[in-house]
């Protein structure tokens, strides 16, 4: 690769983009302007809401009588409402003693619903009598220490309990859906809380009881989090998501202009017949997109910080919780987070470059933005879920790991961040590598670069597919098939009735698997290709291959079990899932072994192999490299298994099965391996406890239970390697029969 050419292309693209007002606006000006404007608007709204007086009707204020004073000059007394008093506009009406509580409530509800009042405060007729009676009781029991405490507890408890226990208490009628009404409720509740405390005080005084008895202990909070971490709490939940979102958007807009836009203007053709290599063009464009993506994030960060510190932090009243929490930006942490952002910038840029290269026009390119954002959004939002922590499992999840690492960095939790920085960066870099490969492949694909702009007619396409079957399915067909299977499996899970017994469970599962995985594969191969058997890779294999296929599952068993342990360590199975699995195991206690073998080993081995190593692998191999086809097939094979831990395990086995299928051009050996692998799991789970000869081979491993001893596993690994070596020697990568071959 000629780096000078890369540099020239990069320089040209940068200058070109800097002259594009739309890109400049989206990536630089919008972030710089948006947050201050949003901040000012929020302040305005907050001020408006907080400073507008609530309109409250007070019913029966005259019934308070001798109770501590609550109203003065048609307002709450200043003692009970230092701040709220000014913000409550009270209208008084008398409580008709003849009215029932329900009637009063109905009238108040009508007033609130009609928006005539934000809230209605109702004092019941017998409130004064009730409190006076309480006071009398307290006075009467004065002197008797044992019963006095009990009495005080009763009084205190009664006053704090809800209105169903204490019908005599004042009622606040409000509408919790209406924000104004909610604010009015909060203000009144604050005033009444203070008034309630003064009633309590007067009762305690009447009984000559020390007031501190009501709250004998004080709970002291000692927060170990450093002040900067506490202050960064809001930043930590907002910034990662915003940064990642803008990293993607900042990459996408230039990418669309640089690729789809160039196609549209015809300049890409000029560049392609110039002296620069495709890889140089891709790299130059990628670096440009990365630059814009990074600076978009940086400008967003600066703008968010500026808005937080200078607008919200300084303009909010000093000492308010928001002012304390937004007033300081965790500066160094944010700088570190920018470093973490680099691999993500590369990943999103490569993704955007691929999608934009695929698009025929800028308009089409814009359409791909939303699906990409929707796919990434749940992963980005993980940083906003407090219960999700950064650990080995989460750090390996693309985007989500980075979001959590960013959160930890902003919270100044450097010890955790450093521990998991490597897996996060490694996972991001791996995804970046895949995205980059995809982008380069797109740039080398004639069908992508010179896609015609004519409309794609679905009807014509389907007719074409059915009328002129191909020798082998295409990659597009394989991917569509895999997505179709996934959708079918998804719906099958909903439609399937709840299993009540082992027989219904096994029957439902088998029927669902055949109908959603096996039958579509057979139908697709029959109608879309010229040779069903070749498409499904149903070919005979040599005896030596069959023997190796028979032995492999046995030697693999301990290794796969340890993989399971490793996966469970990284992604622990949730207690609810464990409980469900235990229930399932109990259900199988009565199931005959041959039934289980048929449903859990034979059916998956036949139909999953027909679909994945049959139709899908054939399709993928027709246009992609063998290993790419193997990994994509394994990924889809894993995803169809539903449960994360099971999917990862299936994905690993899927790679091996794919390799075997590619080397033999047949799914017969993969069916054998698949059947024996599943069968061994079934048989061992059914009989291992009663087989004493197995015990020397196994050890106890924490909560997982019994597992193969390390010595057995090492032996099995060596045997597996020997078998794979032998397999490699007796087989050769088989060329696939395709339309272009």
């Amino acid at each position: 690769m000629n780096w000078k050419n890369v540099q020239r292309i990069f320089k040209r693209e940068i200058f070109d983009q800097l002259r594009d007002r739309r890109t400049l606006f989206t990536t630089m000006i919008l972030p710089l302007v948006m947050y201050p404007i949003l901040g000012l608007l929020m302040l305005q709204v907050a001020q408006f809401v907080s400073e507008t007086a609530s309109n409250v009707q007070v019913v029966g204020a005259e019934l308070i009588g001798e109770l501590p004073e609550l109203f003065v000059d048609e307002k709450f007394t200043a003692a009970h409402s230092p701040a709220e008093g000014k913000l409550l506009d009270l209208k008084f009406i008398q409580n008709n003693e003849q009215s029932t509580a329900e009637l009063v409530y109905d009238q108040a509800k009508d007033l609130v619903d009609a928006d005539e009042f934000d809230a209605v405060l109702v004092f019941p007729p017998d409130l004064q009598a009730y409190i006076l009676a309480l006071r009398e009781d307290v006075v009467r029991t004065r002197g008797n220490n044992e019963s006095a405490v009990e009495e005080v507890e009763q009084v205190s408890g009664a006053l704090n309990s809800d209105e169903t226990v204490l019908p005599q208490g004042p009622q606040i009628v409000f509408n919790s859906v209406d924000d104004k009404s909610k604010i009015a409720h909060k203000r009144i509740a604050n005033v009444l809380g203070s008034w309630q405390a003064s009633i309590k005080q007067s009762l305690f005084q009447a009984g000559n009881i020390p007031l501190k008895i009501a709250d004998p202990i004080a709970i002291v909070d000692r927060d170990t989090a450093p002040e900067e971490s506490r202050n960064a709490a809001i930043w930590a939940s907002i910034i990662p998501m915003m940064l990642l979102m803008w990293t993607l958007s900042g990459a996408f807009y230039p990418a669309v202009d640089l690729c789809a836009g160039e196609k549209e203007r015809g300049t890409l053709e000029t560049l392609l017949c110039g002296p620069a290599k495709r890889l140089e063009i891709v790299t130059g464009k990628l670096l440009t997109i990365m630059t814009f993506s990074f600076f978009t994030s940086l400008f967003n960060l600066i703008s968010i910080a500026f808005t937080g510190v200078f607008l919200i932090g300084k303009m909010m009243p000093a000492g308010s919780p928001l002012q304390e929490r937004l007033g300081t930006v965790p500066g160094w942490s944010i700088l570190w987070s920018l470093v973490v952002l680099v691999p993500l910038v590369a990943m999103f840029s490569a993704l955007a470059l691929s999608a934009a290269t695929f698009a025929r026009s800028s308009k089409e390119g814009q359409y791909y933005m939303m699906p990409l954002l929707i796919l990434c959004m749940p992963l980005m939002m993980i940083s906003m879920i407090p219960s999700v922590e950064l650990n080995l499992g989460t750090s390996l999840i693309p985007v989500a790991g980075a979001a959590l690492l960013l959160r930890n960095l902003i919270e100044s939790q450097f010890s955790v961040a450093i521990r998991f920085a490597f897996p996060v960066v490694a996972s991001s870099m791996f995804c970046c590598y895949l995205a980059l490969r995809w982008a380069t492949a797109q740039f080398n694909s004639e069908s992508v670069l010179f896609r015609e702009s004519e409309k794609w007619d679905v009807k014509l396409w389907l007719l074409q597919l059915l009328k002129t079957p191909r020798v082998a399915p295409t990659t597009g067909m394989a991917i569509c098939f895999a997505l179709f299977v996934l959708i079918l499996r998804f719906f099958a899970n909903f439609v399937a009735p709840d299993a009540t017994s082992w027989s219904s469970f096994l029957l439902n599962n088998s029927v669902a698997l055949i109908m959603t995985v096996g039958v579509p594969a057979i139908l697709a191969a029959q109608f879309l290709t010229t040779n069903l058997w070749d498409t499904l890779n149903l070919r005979r294999v040599s005896l030596s291959v069959a023997v190796i296929a028979l032995l492999l599952p046995f030697s693999l068993q301990p290794i796969i079990s340890w993989f399971g342990v490793l996966i469970a360590e990284i992604y622990p199975i949730s207690p609810s899932m464990l409980a469900g699995l235990e229930g399932l195991e109990k259900m199988f206690d009565d199931a005959p072994w041959w039934w289980m073998l048929l449903a859990m080993a034979a059916v998956p081995a036949i139909f999953e192999e027909l679909a994945f190593r049959g139709f899908m692998l054939s399709g993928l191999r027709s246009e992609t490299k063998d290993w790419t086809a193997i990994f994509i097939t394994a990924a889809f094979f894993g995803i169809t298994h539903g449960i994360l831990q099971q999917s990862l395990n299936a994905g690993i086995i899927g790679v091996l099965l794919g390799y075997v299928a590619v080397r033999t051009n047949s799914i017969i050996p993969t069916m054998i391996i698949h059947f024996l692998h599943n069968g061994l799991v079934v048989v061992l789970s059914k009989f291992s406890a009663s087989q004493e000869w197995l015990q020397p081979l196994q050890v106890e491993y924490s909560e997982i239970g019994t597992i193969y001893s390390p010595l057995v596993t090492v032996g099995a690994t060596l045997l597996t390697l020997a078998l794979l070596f032998a397999f490699h020697r007796v087989t050769d990568t088989q060329p696939l029969l395709t339309d272009t071959a």
Binding site: R8, R265, G266, F450
Partner: protein
Amino acid sequence: MKPKVLKVIVVEKLEKTYPDLQRGAVCAVRGISFVASPGQVFGLLGPNGAGKTTVLRMLSTMLKPTGGTATVAGFDVENEAEEVRRQIGFVSANTASYDRMSAFEMVEFFGQLHGLSKDELANRSEVVFEQLQMNDFRETTCGKMSTGMKQKVSIARAIIHDPPVLIFDEATVGLDVLVGRSLQNTVLQFKDQGKCIIYSTHHMNEAERVCDHVAIMYQGEILAEGGQRELCEHHGQHSLEELFFALIDQHDCQENSAALVTPDIIATESQL
């Protein structure tokens, strides 16, 4: 270093088949062969969809042939693509200019990509801008230019490295008569400079004026190829346009009769 060759472009049994979602496998170019020499304007004539652009894209290494071979200045288009690209200048129907770059910046960018040094670039730019009379809009951004001006920039960009081969793919489409004529004159100037020019068009009068050797393409095949006068005389036609229609009619008739005759022949053969 390859020796100088008399036949700058040699195309042999060149084929291009590509998969199409709606039509299955489409054969755009069906084993065509031709040669072009320095100081020659080789016209590739044909209606839309004849396969002209596909041939030119294969010659400029944008597409890979699915059959046959082609060499440009002695370099194979498939295996020595990078070298081929150094030997050619490609001008397409859409003016393919960067709207936010000035004429000079655009020409400079491609000159740099071709590895011209600063001095070489300055000298060469001066010559090219003078030759194409572009000095008046040297600093104007392409977005503000007329189609004719943009096409001049496109030609300047294509010849900045002084390539021995120039490819014009329907370069006069969208240009007015005056600008079109000016472009044709420029092409003739390049011919006089000894460059080998592949000139694709579907305007016969344009081809008559510019090309001294033509190949008439239809449905991915070359129906006839040779000097203009010889071809017309050979087929008993007075002009290229008449020759063009006659060849296409002849081709369509042959295809139709083949379609009608074939089942009968098969039936007769099976009876035998």
